[in-house]
Amino acid sequence: MIGYIIRRLLQSLVVVFGVTVITFILLHLLPGNPIRAILGTRASAQAVKQLTIEYGFNKPLIVQYFIWLGNLLHGNLGYSYKLNQTVTSLLAERIPKTLFLTGSAAILAIILAIPAGMWQAVRRNKPDDYVGTGLIFIFYSMPTFWLGLVLIIIFSETLGWFPSEAPQDQISVFSQLNGMVLPVATLTLVTLALFTRYMRSSMLEQSIQDYVRTARSKGVSNRAVLFKHVLRNALLPMVTLIGLSIPGILSGSLVTETVFNYPGMGLLFYQAAESDDFPTLLGVTLIVAIATVIGNLIADILYAVVDPRIRYVS
């Protein structure tokens, strides 16, 4: 077990290293010269030269990479000249808000997906399963921003129940929950579609296993088979789902935050893309990638903990 965890940990480190290389390459693919971005187009050649030396842009790329990596390891993600703030402080401001949005949506989605998936599996190939599956396919195939818009049209504009814009400042995000209803609902619905599909498949896969047939033939009631045997084993793969769905939920959050003008990391990223604020853009990319790697790692380790077979395979 310990060996497995150490091996996965090392693999993850390699991937994170790869991500930093890719981010660095992207940084250098960017149009325009970073010095010009700071000084403006009318700066004198002298000033440009001075700053180039100061920032080390005259050094070989590989040396620049290690300088940049060293800065990263000290928590220095660069400086946003557009917003006149360090990327680290921008992220520190935005990450809690994104965590609040994505966390609420993920928890709600999993709470709803387990009974919904169970219901569908039990009622397999009956009309209500078809309706459920159809609905899930529709939500699954829906552009997130469109779902947000439709919710705004229905619940904000027509019914007037909830505001169409998320709360803006630091405190009201957590206190004016009324404004959080539609963003959380949007993100929950798209995530729910995926989770329910997964739960339904997981239930169906378990229900055809030999141990279920054994239990049935021993005379165990359907209800007991369902809850004591099938459900418990079907929940195992669900354990990994939260970890694995981190990139998806973060992408969904990016779109949701844009629709509802919710000041999280996703909106920061979007605005950075619009205003060519590359340090911020790549800072967020790096954080999101690291979150994804950690999510995968946690999913694998949790799965190995709950399902001993995994440990012995590789």
Partner: protein, 315 residues
């Protein structure tokens, strides 16, 4: 294989996930050349009602977008402010948009772009993925390790984020958009094909080719790649659905196709400013067109996967 969700259960608008472990890769691929196996695949596919519905919807959508404009003729070149924002009615079945274009005609035109980008990006993604995955799997050792770590690292960046960074770097034309989506979406097929290649290259017939002096290229193009066709086709189907959603999302975010070209996402983005004016015909038709198309491709992809799984199980 059972009924587990496999990596093709992928994320369209970014919400969802691609199983990075690449679990559920069909194990091998022998026997694709035998007609009987393919007949069985076809039979299972046809028996699946959702697959037929999906296929029908795709055909209808293609006809609607490409043949529709020949029947329902509209003027889509010049602005006509006098006709702006008319509600649906005779003459304009779905009303007009803020610059006076007929919305139904616009829907057909935008659909052409969305479908073209979807197909083209899927083809690029699958082609790169197959070559990369098969090469890595066949090479093995350090080359395989390095190639797959590159895939791992790129997969760690959620697709939408990577797309937006690339979108910010390249000022997008339709061609660039196709290439950018293709360049991001090849990772999953690469992983799938590499997994299959690993199991294929140790098979007796591949070994036999090797012994008989068949070169690497021959093994790759004659034996490995043809045997991964099932996986490739299933993945490509989902790729089209995904690409359509990515184009829509990028267009909504203002990083999509520049005017005068239009696509469904672009039309939605334009309709956005009129949500409060109650111009529903600028919001619902394009959204519903996207959903129908993406649902249809997902139905077909699911059914294909099930059909191919049946073939694998009954070997």
């Amino acid at each position: 294989m059972g009924l587990t969700i496999t990596p093709e259960d992928v994320d369209p608008s970014g919400v969802g996930f691609r199983d990075p472990a690449g679990g559920g890769v069909p194990e091998g691929g022998e026997g694709y050349s035998s007609g009987a196996a393919w007949k069985m695949v076809l039979r299972v596919f046809i028996e699946n009602k959702l697959a037929i519905v999906g296929l029908g919807l795709i055909v209808l959508m293609v006809l609607f977008c490409f043949v529709g404009p020949l029947i329902y003729r509209t003027q889509q070149i010049f602005n006509n402010p006098a006709l702006a924002n008319k509600p649906p009615g005779p003459g304009h079945l779905l009303g007009t948009n803020p610059v006076g274009y007929d919305v139904l005609g616009r829907l057909m035109l935008g659909g052409q772009t969305s479908l073209e980008i979807g197909f083209a990006a899927a083809i690029i993604a699958v082609m790169i993925g197959v070559l990369w995955g098969a090469a890595a799997g066949l090479a093995g050792g350090i080359v395989d390790a390095v190639m797959m770590r590159i895939v791992d690292a790129l997969l760690a960046i959620p697709f939408l984020f990577l797309l937006i960074v690339l979108g910010a770097i390249f000022t997008t034309s339709i061609l660039e958009l196709i290439v950018v989506i293709g360049l991001v979406a090849w990772l999953v097929p690469a992983r799938l094909v590499r997994g299959e290649t690993l199991s294929l290259r140790v098979r007796e017939y591949v070994q036999a080719v090797n012994v008989m002096g068949g070169g690497t290229r021959r093994i790759l193009f004659r034996h490995i790649i043809p045997n991964t066709v099932g996986t490739i086709v299933v993945n490509a189907t989902f790729q089209v659905a995904d690409a359509i959603l990515y184009v829509a999302t990028l267009s909504y975010l203002g990083l999509g196709v520049p005017p005068p070209a239009t696509n469904w996402g672009h039309q939605l983005a334009n309709g956005l400013s009129y949500v409060y004016a109650g111009y529903w015909w600028l919001i619902y038709p394009a959204g519903i067109a996207i959903i129908i198309t993406v649902v249809a491709f997902n139905f077909v992809g699911d059914a294909l996967r099930d059909a191919l799984e049946v073939r694998l199980q009954s070997r």
